[in-house]
């Protein structure tokens, strides 16, 4: 009897723990996050995006799946050439970021990604979208840096923006490279809040630094 009571208590407490941290959620996320930084194809990102979307529709209170879906759209956008698809990717990224933001307001990581999504709108049609999304991208990035000055992805985004923006719109390749180097150093010391929190970008940052040489 004592023994079985113990079993019962164990099981009940197990359920309770599951309700709080859900090891299956963590596990699935960890599995999906494997190899994220080394993907180079649209198909690769699409598969990850789908997996995060599946987790997101199950774990409706978690902001990270929504965040990662948006990240996948940003990365696919960079590889996509079809304007109609790029447009759809912008819309999808915006949707998932809005959801992530409502689940976890004032998060530095979400703000970096929102800034990247705004830059996508500009690249889609610089003449038309530049005036609206240019200032928006800068404001979002500024907010991200305020929320977490040690976020290497924010510094990287700053570097990329400065590096790729034409000079007359405020770009500066020299300052851009400085930021990218600074971001590299920040990546080295960055500690994510958990195994499933954002910890990507070093490979991307190094790739751009390679171009900047």
């Amino acid at each position: 009897m004592k023994n079985s009571l113990f079993i019962l208590v164990l099981m009940v407490s197990g359920f309770a723990a599951q309700a709080q941290t859900n090891p299956k959620y963590i596990q699935t996320m960890e599995k999906t996050l494997q190899g994220l930084d080394s993907i180079i194809t649209v198909e690769g990102w699409q598969t990850k995006s789908n997996a995060f979307e599946r987790i997101g529709q199950k774990e409706t209170k978690e902001w990270l799946p929504q965040y990662y879906v948006a990240l996948c759209q940003v990365r696919i956008f960079n590889l996509e050439k079809d304007a109609a698809k790029q447009e759809a990717l912008c819309t999808k990224a915006d949707q998932f970021l809005a959801r992530a933001d409502s689940l976890n307001p004032n998060n530095s990581e979400i703000y970096v990604l929102r800034s990247m999504a705004a830059s996508m709108h500009i690249r889609l049609n610089p003449m038309v979208n530049g005036q609206k999304y240019g200032p928006m991208a800068s404001m979002l990035l500024e907010k991200s840096m305020q929320l977490d000055p040690s976020n290497p992805r924010a510094e990287m985004q700053k570097g990329m923006t400065l590096y790729f923006t034409p000079a007359q719109w405020g770009g500066d390749p020299v300052k851009g490279k400085e930021s990218l180097l600074k971001a590299n150093a920040m990546f080295a010391t960055f500690k994510p809040a958990s195994s499933i929190h954002p910890n990507w970008g070093l490979a991307m940052n190094e790739a751009i630094l390679g171009m900047a040489k």
Partner: protein, 722 residues
């Protein structure tokens, strides 16, 4: 004890131990049988699912049991939901995905229509193109003259000359409301610019024929300008140029959804004319002062209330030698008022309502002298006014199909008071109603069917004009369109005919047939359009006033725009071939009218040099000679002479800079850089022995200016500090 163990056991069973596994598999395809790669297949509210592979196939295992919902999503396609019952073994599903709604993939009516818009994706031009085209000189009409179907060598008369039509056959609308006097006051033989600042408009639809039943009273075409909505921020602007000064300010109250602003502009060509010699002697150098006031307010029901008011005072006078050896003097003082109040919004989420009212008035005080003797010097006043209301209700069915019902009422007055000829005036009550549908039969095929009915109290006539357009999408980027319709128009000199013949002529009519092929892929546009137009009931004025004039116009036009081939270079080429004849007004027989050239070609080139922050533009306009009247010819030789061909090379440079917190553009523009002689026609002496040439006032026109704008809120600083 036993009971508890059982309980524990059952918990384990349901949790994981003896779970039943089902395999879900299948293949995802489009309607065309093409595999859908990368689609997301998931079991709702579970982690289970898969991504379709390169052949559209997928497979996954799940421990779920019983009835479940399988969801298949793919970007740009409609989501498919399938109910499945999982009881071990395997479940096979082969869903077919249907492409979702996408503006870029929808067929649009393109016959006869050029659109410049930021909001719509499939457009030929962007609003910014209007201000960066070298030959346009910042004038909307100048930019439109680089499109096929328009005449480029019409520097002697106001207006757009579209496909064999005169300037008065191409009316301008702002937010659906007619503008009676869209051009600045002008003197004979010198065209004036459009009154309205291109930055006021977020969209421009220029139809070169076969246009919507929403609009009337243009035998050739309509130009529909759509004013801006709420700005993103409060801004100020200042301009200093070789021809004048301008200042503007607009304030945005974001929380109230309200913006109020105004502009003041002063133009004076006296300093420029001192430096650059002009051929007629300008006894009064062109001088204009204008004010604009606007208000935009968001209202309930996603609505927008807009007011726009414009007032301009201008004066210009010249004196020129005539072929008879005399001297012709002309001076005009013009005052122009234009107001426009519109509301648009949704009614019960099903109807889109557009309401508008406008009042405008134009006053001209003219003094003319002709010192040869048989014509007297005169001083006269001409004024006109227009009061109008307009309402359109649009009901949407599904995503694209819609029905529009609307009506408008215009009250027009024209007055003339001369020392020599006395007084005369006319008034017209003009009601019109229309109904039109955009019927999407499939996403590839759309039909626009409409009819417009009009009545004029002055003409004592009514008409009904049917209009039809069809468009069919052939592939991802190309489509074919057809348009047909009847287009009625009152004569444009009714007051004159009334004084001369004590009679008012009836409606004139044009019938359009247009066939268009268009190919648009990112950064490249090709289009070709053929048309045939038949004129009927044109006004003739030989001895008697009649409505028995006839005519035709036919032609083929090409347009090609390319932003891709040469890195950083955007260019377009237009070519129009036109064959037209008409018998109207004083013409003895059908002849090619004086405002029509047979071949017109334009090249527009733009390039931005990021390193020096400079944009450069070049435009080359070419047109074959236009017919001119030579009194020495017999009636068989009527209008058979041609002016020399027209050439115009224009260049412009824009240098972008940031000074303090403001964004400054320095502009240098030169029209007719090469100084080629441009002849628009000739004026003969009474005996036909001598003639004078109608040319621009100076060979070249040089414009230098600086435009500064600044955002009053902090956003601009953010960019600057980055």
């Amino acid at each position: 004890m036993k009971y508890l163990l059982l309980l524990a056991l059952s918990c384990c069973i349901s949790n994981c131990l003896f779970a039943q596994t089902t395999i879900v598999k299948g293949q995802i395809t489009e309607k065309s049988k093409a595999p859908v790669v990368g689609a997301n297949i998931l079991l709702r509210d579970t982690y289970d699912g898969a991504t379709s592979d390169a052949t559209g196939k997928f497979q996954f295992k799940t421990d779920e049991t019983g009835p479940q919902v399988l969801q298949i999503t793919y970007l740009g396609f409609d989501t498919v939901i399938i109910k499945v019952d999982l009881k071990g073994d395997s479940v096979v599903v082969n869903p077919i995905l249907k492409e979702g709604f996408n503006e870029l993939k929808m067929v649009v009516i393109s016959a006869g229509s050029f659109e410049a818009s930021d909001e719509k994706k499939v457009t030929i031009l962007k609003p910014l193109d209007i201000v960066t085209t070298a030959s346009a000189g910042g004038d909307t009409y100048g930019a439109l003259r680089t499109l096929p179907g328009t005449q480029v060598s019409s520097g002697d008369q106001n207006g757009l000359f579209v496909r064999g039509g005169s300037g008065s056959e191409a009316p301008t609308m702002i937010d659906g409301l007619l503008v009676r006097n869209p051009f600045f006051a002008s003197t004979p033989d010198f065209a004036a610019r459009g009154r309205f600042n291109p930055f006021l408009f977020k969209g421009t639809v220029f139809s070169t024929g076969g246009y919507s039943a929403q609009y009337g009273q243009g035998m050739s075409s309509v130009l529909v300008l759509e004013t801006q909505d709420l700005p993103d921020r409060s801004t100020g602007s200042l301009s200093v140029s070789s021809v004048g000064l301008g200042y503007g300010q607009q304030k945005l109250w974001k929380s109230k959804g309200l913006a109020i602003g105004g502009n003041i502009n002063y133009t004076n060509l006296a300093p420029y004319f001192l430096l650059v010699k002009q051929v007629p002697n300008f006894t009064r150098k062109p001088e204009f002062i204008g004010n604009e006031l606007f208000m935009r307010k968001k209202t309930r029901g996603n609505g927008m209330l807009k007011f726009y008011g414009y007032y301009n005072h201008g004066i210009v006078g010249l004196s020129t030698n005539t072929a008879d050896g005399g001297n012709f003097g002309f001076k005009v003082k013009n005052d122009n008022l234009y107001t426009n109040l519109t509301w648009s919004g949704l009614l019960r989420d099903k109807w889109k309502i557009n309401l508008g009212t406008s009042y405008s008035k134009d006053w001209n005080k003219i003094e003319s002298s002709y010192n040869v003797g048989f014509l007297n010097a005169d001083s006269f006043r001409i004024s006109n006014s227009l009061t109008q209301i307009r309402g359109v209700a649009t009901r949407f069915f599904g995503r694209m199909t819609s029905v529009r019902i609307g009506g408008e009422y215009q009250y027009l007055t024209d007055e003339y008071k001369s020392q020599v000829f006395g007084k005369s005036s006319i008034r017209d009550h003009y009601p019109a109603a229309f109904v039109e549908t955009d019927l999407y039969i499939t996403t590839q095929l759309v039909a626009r069917l409409g009819v417009r009915a009009e009545h004029s109290s002055l003409l004592q006539q009514s008409n009904a004009a049917p209009r039809v357009s069809l468009a069919y999408k052939l592939g991802p980027g190309d489509q074919i369109s057809f348009a047909w319709g009847h287009f009625y128009q009152k004569g444009d000199s009714l007051l004159r005919w009334k004084s001369q013949f004590q009679q008012i002529p009836g409606f004139q009519r044009a019938e359009h047939f247009i066939l268009n092929y268009q190919y648009i892929l990112k950064d490249r546009i090709f289009r070709v359009e053929g048309f045939y137009k038949k004129y009927q009931d044109l006004i003739t004025t030989r001895q008697q006033l009649r409505n028995d004039g006839t005519g035709y116009a036919k032609g083929v036009e090409f347009f090609f725009r390319d932003k891709r081939t040469f890195s950083g270079v955007d260019y377009w080429i237009s070519y129009s071939w036109l064959d037209t004849k008409r018998r109207y007004e004083w013409y003895p027989s059908e002849a090619q009218p004086t405002f029509a050239a047979n071949h017109v070609a334009t090249l527009v080139l733009k390039k931005f040099f990021p390193k020096i922050k400079t944009g450069a533009g070049l435009t080359y306009n070419y047109a074959t000679g236009r017919p001119y009247y030579n009194p020495n010819r017999s009636e068989t030789g009527f209008l058979t002479d041609r002016t020399p061909a027209y050439h115009n090379l224009s260049v412009n440079f824009n240098y972008l800079a940031t000074i303090k917190k403001s964004f400054v553009v320095f502009v240098l523009g030169v029209q007719n850089v090469l100084g080629q002689t441009q002849v628009f026609g000739y004026r003969y002496s009474a005996d036909g022995a001598n003639r004078t040439t109608i040319t621009p006032a100076a060979k070249r026109f040089v414009f230098i200016g600086a435009f500064a704008s600044w955002g009053v809120d902090r956003r601009q600083e953010v960019i600057d500090n980055q």
